[in-house]
Amino acid sequence: MPPWIVVMLRWICPAELVEMIEGDLIEQFHIDVQRFGPARARRKVILHAIDFIRLGILARNGMPAFNMPMAFHFFRFFFRGMKKHAGYSFINISGLALGLATVLLMMIYVLDEYRYDQSYKDSDKIFRIVSKIDMGGEILYTSFSPNALSDAIKHDYPQVEYVTRATLFGMSQALAAEKSEVNAQGIAADQAFFNIFSFQCLEGNLATALAPSNPSSIVITKDLATKLFGQYHDVVGNTLRDGRRIAAVIENVPHNSHIHFEFVTAFGPYTPEMAIWGNFGSYHYVKFKDARNVPEVQSSLQALMISRLSADPHTAGFKGTLRFQPLTSIHLDEITYAMEPSGKGNKQYAIIFTVLAIFILAIACINFTNLATVRGIRRAKEIGVRKTIGAVRLQLVMQLLGESMVAATIAMGIALTIAALALEPFNTLTQKQITFDYQSVGVPLLISFGAMILSGILSGIYPACILSSVKASSLIKGIPSVNMGGGYLSRSLVVLQFTFSIMIVSGTLVVYAQLQYIRNKNLGYQRDNVIHIHDGSKNYASFKAALLTHPGIKSICAADQNLTQVFGAGGIDWAGRTTTGAVLVHTMAVDPDFLETMKISLVKGRNFSPDGQRDTASLLVNEEATRLFATDDPVGLRVQGVNKVVQPWWALYRTFTLNRSTRRWLPF
């Protein structure tokens, strides 16, 4: 009979029973040896012995710790210990609490990133068609795809259950009901949009809301309905001041959706000139009956597009590639596509955060365990006295384990409070709208609870097992003379903890330096003390005049787009051009105070004239554009732009960089 069985039995069985149980096992072993031979008997005795680990035996160990006076004693002792070593307890518990809270928030963030767009039904069958366009050397990734796609798919690809076009209105629109007027962000889409994205319909009929027969229909979200009408029921059938009729009210768009809107209008039919393959002008979403058909449809459409592009003289030089991008991977896709409807996530950040969370969790647990272990060993005398009075081993183990579990639980409680309180600023920081509900917090909570229990047990088990096994007399004499073992373990844990800490601190410093660089890098324009107000007001002139009377405001300018996020680029042509192929530039309409307000310095030429009337055909370009035009003195050069208007242009200003990559920039 293996000797470890005896050791194990002494551990689990009450003292008054263990002798007879051992006897019975040995006797059974001898019987089995004669019956089955030694090998099988050995196996059997192990099974028999393990079979004794049952509640009916364990519970017989007598648990005086669980009766009321002992419970009181336990907690009294625990809090006395906390008070006596207040500094230690504070560091220990708050350390674990902070660690757990950080990990909780980080995991909430990461999971939220990974859960993007998963709330839509059948999200694994929904794809967005995105494009990679090679315009003679310059490669453009865009989430737009050719306008001709939707008709082609509808006619020739039965594998695709639904297809919709969608486009985002670059700016919010003013919607006016009888009593109120609000600005709202909207999209235009086809009827199939609601077949693809499962939005809960609160009122009205989504099946016909965007049908081509109702071009003036509009579908609004619950929030927008409330803003417009003060309520979100009984609003269907109302008309807005511009004549559009509310066709349906839907639930708000979930915050972790890659596309956000407050209203949807019907997507008008394309004119024949627009519905061409070379016009990458809208989003396309498709829903497959069976996602296994995706590669086949993708390559077939790809071939079709290439043949159509080369057939059209305007786009003969274009090389386009289509990709069916799974809906759920849009947010964390490795490729950043232009025209993304909302802020894209970063998979690297998600991974870094996960690794950081694991590190922090490890540090917090190791720290807690080490501190508690050291303190547990210091309590040798107390345990010696307890033993002398007659504490059973299990009682001691329960007491020490219990104390560290209680400490860990307190830390967890504090961590939860911190996380709950920090969620609001955390949401602001990460631009998310996470609420403390099971959906977003469930898994992180489980992880933290696991860590709490693990560190509680780990920090308690060592002193519990070692100290309770040492003789009372040697405990009372002072620090026990026996080798406490584990010295190695705790020392290597400390080393590991410091390694992690140093890695995190230096990593943070590097990231901080990077961010400082991005912040302070000269982008060619002034960012400090500039604010941006989004307002569709038509009384701009008087608004501006009124604001300028305020002493704190130096200058004001109007622009049709936000400088940090410019939508749309157009192809241009100019006199004396030597290159071929399409050239895209970004444009923005501004008023004469633009340069003054943004502190952009002129290199050559002059600014728009203050009255703003004479220069309607003039342009300002940046240095990057000059390089493009391959001329030293661009002032006076005639450029043919998007609107087919011949525009002489006047001035040249310093290049400014956007998003760390230089983009061409040409206001008119």
Binding site: D24, H48, R54
Partner: protein, 106 residues
């Protein structure tokens, strides 16, 4: 006081303690169950049941009888108490009463 009940296994073990009279201990009970009704039972299960029956007062135990094949460990012998015997008897009577009510057997 509500009527006491025993589980099937408890009843079996209690019966065996009664059968083995003063010689009932863990191994003997396992062996006897195997010989009489060809049923394999676990030593651990028998022990736990014995302790439970002792808690309920249906059997009592004494210690003794160390032998060489037990590595010098003593045995814990169980004997049935008066309460145990009367419970066993009342269970048997209840069972017989119910048996008589099965229509196919009439």
């Amino acid at each position: 006081m509500p009527k006491e009940y025993l589980g099937e296994f408890e009843e079996l073990v209690l019966t065996l303690v009664a059968i083995l009279d003063k010689e009932a201990y863990g191994n003997a009970i396992v062996k006897e169950i195997e010989e009489q009704i060809h049923r394999q039972v676990n030593l651990g299960g028998v022990h736990v049941t014995l302790y439970r029956l002792e808690d309920k007062g249906y059997i009592k135990s004494r210690v003794g009888g160390a032998t060489a094949e037990r590595g010098g460990r003593r045995k814990r012998f169980f004997t049935i108490t008066a309460a145990g015997l009367s419970l066993l008897r009342s269970m048997k009577e209840d069972r017989q009463h119910l048996w008589k009510l099965i229509p196919q057997l009439k």
